[in-house]
């Protein structure tokens, strides 16, 4: 039976109104306080996201409003040789940097976990690159890897009788160079997070295991590592997100006139390619579709990680 105004009891309407007023009294201040953030979030985050999803189905060129072209941008992607190259390069980079960063960060945390003065100094030294700007770090490594006479890497190689390697124009070196630079800049931060995780593990457990005859390797493998799982998952997920979005290093080292991917596109990763399509070639519709594919990849990887972490609880 349909409810009309005539058969709604007035005392019920009043009660509802009173309840709403009470709710506002209780929650209103909170809503008002989060309003500045919420408005900015909606305008500068939610709206661009929704808009970019729409743009991914158009041929928007940045100036004229785009026409709806259905899924053409997404179809185009799979036949786009450069996109596939960017995707494979990004995958190689992500696998290498996330695994090495996690392993090296953990190794450093284990090595420097004792609260001695020397360890404190070492921690600060290893953490230092994490607070240095990527631009400065990249410029430093450019100087190290250059094939000019002052290049440190080649000077060391020459010391061991190895011929000059022209790192920046050798396609096989592009991803390793990006990984080395990221690792140097990032493992200090990872170490700090692992140190925090290690401090939350009670010493009693490892002591008890030691008394029961567990070796240090067994204690690490069977006690410390499982207890560090939440920390590890956090590091892997944030590492994945950051690694998939690598941009500044590639741009600073490999971008030249008309080319953003380095020799033979060997350093071309997804976000620089997205930037190139969107802001150099004015294909903002296509760039938006690349962004959404990247989002999908990161989302799936994150969900897999969370699921794996939960299953092993």
């Amino acid at each position: 039976m349909a409810i009309s105004e005539s058969n709604v009891r007035p005392d019920l309407t009043k009660r509802t109104l009173n309840a709403r007023v009470a709710l506002f009294r209780r929650m209103g201040a909170g809503y008002i306080m989060i309003a500045p953030f919420l408005i900015l979030f909606l305008v500068f985050a939610v709206w661009p996201i929704i808009n970019s999803l729409y743009l991914s189905f158009t041929d928007f060129n940045g100036v004229k409003s785009g026409e709806f072209i259905g899924t053409k941008n997404y179809e185009r992607m799979w036949g786009d040789e450069r996109f596939i190259k960017a995707l494979t390069n990004t995958a190689s980079y992500v696998v290498l940097i996330v695994s090495l960063n996690t392993i090296c960060g953990l190794a450093l945390a284990m090595a420097l976990r004792a609260p001695t003065a020397l360890n404190q100094i070492c921690r600060a030294l290893f953490f230092l690159p994490a607070v240095t700007s990527t631009v400065a770090v990249t410029v430093l490594w450019r100087t190290i890897f250059t094939s000019a006479d002052y290049g440190l890497a080649n000077t060391i190689l020459h010391f061991f009788g190895i011929k000059t390697i022209v790192f920046f124009s050798s396609p096989e070196w592009s991803i390793p160079i990006l990984v080395i630079i990221s690792l140097w800049g990032g493992m200090g931060g990872t170490m700090i997070i692992f140190l925090a995780g290690l401090q939350s593990i009670s010493g009693d457990m490892t002591e008890a295991a030691a008394i029961d005859g567990a070796t240090s390797v067994q204690r690490f493998w069977y006690i410390i590592l499982p207890l560090l799982k939440p920390t590890t998952i956090y590091i892997v997920i944030t590492g994945l997100i950051g690694a998939f979005q690598v941009f500044d290093m590639v741009y600073l080292i490999y971008s030249t006139v008309g080319n953003i991917g380095g020799p033979l596109d060997s350093a071309l990763t997804i976000v620089p390619y997205l930037y190139d399509r969107g802001f150099t070639r004015f294909q903002l519709g296509y760039a938006s579709s690349i962004a959404w594919v990247l989002f999908g990849i990161i989302f799936i990887m994150t969900m897999i990680n969370l699921r794996l972490g939960r299953e092993n609880k």
């Binding site: 985050a45 100036v63 979005q245 941009f247 006139v257 033979l264 070639r281 004015f282 969370l306």
Partner: protein, 455 residues
Amino acid sequence: MFKLTRLSTRKWTGLTSFVTLVMLFSLVLTACGDSTATTPATTTASAAATTAASAATTAAAGPKVTPGNLTVWAVGSEDDAKVFQSAADAFNKANPGVKVTIQPVSWDDAHAKDLAAATSGQGPDMITGGLSWGIEFGTKGAMVDLAQKYPDVVKNVQKLAQPGIYNSVKTLDGKVYGVPADLTVMMMYYRTDLLKEAGIDKIPSTWDELTTAITKLQAKGSKGMASSWGNTSWLGWYGFLYGAGGSLYDAQCTKVNINSPEAVKSLQFYSELYTKYKTPTDSTIDFEGGFEKGDYPILMQGNWDITGLESGHPGVKGKWAAAPIPAGPSGKKTAFIGGRMIGIMNFSKNQDTAAAFINYLYTDEAATMTSTKAAELSALWLPPRVDMVSKLQVPDDRKAALTAQLSDAGGPPNCKGWEESQNTADKKIQEVILNKADPQKALDEVAVVMNQNLK
């Protein structure tokens, strides 16, 4: 109850991840440009020089100036903007009530900033940018077609500008969205002292003389030649391609010529400069520093080093000279010509004044003023007028070299799809240099892409 809690936790985790990731990603999209289009225009500049003087005199007559403010986003360094501002100041003085302000924008930021301005319909009245930017922005409706709205201004520019660079800013159907604001051209720099020591009496002016000189210099302990501008790319190869008698497209942009026998021959030679004659492929090297130290006594570089070299590398003073790039088998020494264009945004409310300012930039007064200011700042601002080279404040021998090179220089092609094809061209050229791929096969593959994009 447990199940319900678990489910909501999952949902919450998923939602949180989703929102976090989308936020991160939107930043990438919201936070976050080159190349070109012009017919391969290799030309002689004498015609322009002949008509220049008379045209420059008549340049003062043009669009009506109305009082108001004009903002120009000038791509380049702060010094470049100061050079440009010197002309703007004179224009302001001559036109009471008008205020032209030049704001520098770095090359890294300019393309994206200009695009944001075009998208929002708010920003500067005028922009300067890479030669192709006028066509890029103009064909998308962001810039005024000067040929249609201010035909007299464009006629004046056409008479005065170096023909190669003018052809680079004109679309095939005659639209002109930006005119050259300055120009840059590839040149050869060499160390006079080191060439003499190596027994090289004649400036290398052919490919054979170039390779002979490199061999002799290397025998004396130096590293030979370096190519700074356009290293291992189509831009660096351009001069050799045209020197061999080749071209990227035909003059009407109806046919792709990049895999012609001449082009193959030139790419073979260009790659040998790297593989056989050890020109460095690493662009991170400080080539000017290497030139000063004597590592690279021959340097292929843009004309900006004509004035800029000694200020950054005083040790080279009195030991170097500039010359046109060596001629190829065809006898041509066609160098790549680049530079900046200046155009009017379609949302500008002062379009007539902006057009008048463009006209003013082509006067003798403005060209002299910018050159003088550039000399003060040890920069080289080369007006796009060949006839003005004689007024540059640089030694006569360098002026002569510059004039000689400008007499045979061409801009990037303005054929459809060249922009999209450039990356493939670069990649295939690099495959030949770095992976020793067959030049014919590599260029055939570029031709396939260029033909697809030309349709």
